[in-house]
Symmetry: C2
Subunit: 390 residues, 2 copies
């Protein structure tokens, strides 16, 4: 076990508040523990997404039962509604979410990519016509940090420029350089020692740009690094090709967070390459759409075949949904448009991702992650239901 990086505390004035201890090679799977002011985060960790300061349809207590130790909220969305100052005056994100474990806020950089139609990027920052009422919202490096200082998450993110998988070299290089300039400005603007500011590596699928981004951000000595600009349409193979050297180049003593991932095969591939943290809307969004993750692949609860099925979604799952509700019941709730179907499938799916992380940590600890991942993927059919489920 590597001891927490004490030099880090010395150089930056931060206490052991954000100490990260991990075991494993710099370029392979590793287990770790990241300390935050709201408790430890065992890594590899999956972060449920609560865009608007709520994991959709679930209480904080329910989210905690999935094993999550950190959840994500979104700066862009919260600045638009209800406003960072409102969250601050209501006691900050932890109080607003009723969640006493760690929280991470994204900076709004991903919305540069996802809300292309309503934003303009310049060196100064990103100007949005917001998605609620079209009012103008300007996010600069300084304002993105100020907003996150007000929101009060434990882990906060630099503003970055995320371009798509199709971006050409020049566009990607420009985004890397702007992301570095913005990271420097973000670090200068950051005011709270009880919040760890992460840099975000960009560079799309270009190995030299990823290297450049890692080097430039590394000089700024962040307590953690995110890898952005992946899972934006490039596919599993190319994601892994880019991810491997990028993760390996990041400082071994700091947590690595792959943003917006995702699919179980991507998670396992990334863990195998030394990534520590993940977030994705997949478990909750798919839950709301009537899909349940299982070790055999996703179930589509709308299917007629589930009508009279009194088995739980997964026998081996310990979530409230699997202990209390059958596939037939869930199908009825989904077909009837009942909120409970959406919330229970979200709960199960988050627990599925939580269990996957627990299993991965156990396997890494036992030195058998490669075999575990291979077995897991051999069973899992991403395309969905198979004859085994009929």
């Amino acid at each position: 076990m590597t001891e927490p990086d004490s030099q880090q505390a010395d150089r930056s004035g931060r206490a052991a508040m954000f100490a990260f201890a991990s075991r494993g090679p710099g370029d392979g799977p590793r287990v770790g523990c990241f300390q935050t002011p709201h408790g430890p985060v065992d890594t590899p960790a999956f972060m449920p997404v609560g865009t608007q300061a709520t994991v959709k349809g679930l209480t904080a207590e329910q989210v905690a039962t999935t094993g999550a130790q950190v959840v994500l909220a979104n700066t862009y969305h919260l600045v638009v509604r209800p406003g960072a100052e409102v969250i601050e005056r209501l006691g900050g994100l932890h109080r607003v979410m009723g969640w006493d474990r760690a929280i991470l806020t994204d900076s709004g950089g991903f919305q540069v990519f996802s809300l292309t139609a309503i934003r303009q990027v310049s060196d100064e920052g990103v100007r949005f016509a917001n998605h609620v009422d079209g009012a103008e919202l300007m996010l600069t490096p300084a304002s993105a940090i100020e907003a996150q200082n007000r929101l009060g998450a434990d882990l906060i993110m630099c503003l970055d420029e995320c371009v798509g998988a199709q971006a050409d070299y020049e566009t990607s290089r420009s985004a890397v350089e702007r992301t570095t300039r913005w990271a420097r400005a973000c670090k200068a603007a950051h005011r709270r020692e009880d919040q760890a500011l992460f840099g975000i590596v960009q560079g799309q699928l270009f190995a030299d740009l990823r290297r450049q981004s890692v080097e430039e951000l590394g000089e700024l000595d962040f307590p953690g690094y995110a890898i952005g600009g992946l899972s934006v349409g490039e596919g599993h193979e190319r994601m892994m090709e880019t991810l491997g050297p990028t993760a390996a180049a990041l400082p071994a003593g700091r947590p690595r967070y792959l943003m917006g991932v995702g699919e179980p095969a991507d998670l396992l591939g990334a863990i195998g390459r030394g990534v520590d943290m993940f977030d994705c809307v997949l478990p909750t969004r798919n839950g709301r759409n009537g899909f349940a993750f299982t070790a055999d692949g996703p179930l589509k609860l709308r299917n007629e075949r589930h009508r009279l099925d009194d088995r739980p979604v997964e026998d081996e799952c310990d979530c409230y949904c699997c202990r209390r509700m059958s596939r037939g019941v869930l199908r009825h709730l989904v077909m009837s448009g009942e909120m409970l179907g959406a919330s229970m499938l979200s709960l199960h799916n988050l627990r599925f991702f939580g269990r996957l992380m627990e299993q991965a940590r156990t396997a890494i600890g036992a030195g058998r992650f490669e075999a575990f991942a291979a077995d897991w993927l051999a069973r899992y059919r991403p395309g969905g239901e198979t004859d085994k489920d009929s």
Copy 2:
């Protein structure tokens, strides 16, 4: 304390399974306990409504925290979707709802009133063009009971003809007589001794028709009686005028259930007149629409005034919503269209109704119900927010 009516068991062959013991006069407020195969129901009792076999947005565990000992589901809706046979094959309503306390199913008689546009009533029964896909559904006294036998609630209801508050005397008399004929047919069709079949008193606002209905149903010796055809537009005063003599005329040793009520003033008025059980969609429907019940009157969480308010909906409430979430947070969730706002306000509202029942039982037990109800109503402003809340 009146002992359970042992003659009832002798005459009908029913065991003490549905014993009802109450304390109080036949025509005034009373506390009681109604035994069911799924536990006792302390009366006066409020039953949360779970039309489609789910109290909208809440788990069974959450519903139990509101103090509810019995919930309601709807035969008409469940016959339409997913079908009574599907519920039966999935283990019955208790298993489907994950609820181990008592359940009551309405018969579909109320849909005679509420779905006027898509139904035809004849002596044989009610023919619906169902609200989901328009397919024909025929509910007869025998089929309504057969469906309820399959659904498996503890308390089931006769099919009745519910006409509106505007119905004239002849229409109302005809509905009473048909309801009696149907009640006889329902009793003959009923097959399960572990389900108590309630008769439903009709007669609209006509005292002699209500008397006639009570007498005719009384001859059929039901283990409980519902009062239907109220809260259908007649207003509080006329509801109480009709309710008083109707409740008093019912057998003192059997529970009395006022269907579809409702407003706190109606609940207190009805409890004062000897009613034991209630159901209403108000707490959950209003919760979904952003309203919170409080002892001072309803709050409309959409109002700007709640934006920065970090107080709970009610200081004195012990529900999860009031312990964890402020008015400002709830306003954000409601304004953002988040499911959690709907479910948390539903939870609080159900707990508000549950606490009202607990307070009423305590007051009756202490012989001070009239004073309690007067004080309660003096504080409560049905019109909503007052300056006290600003």
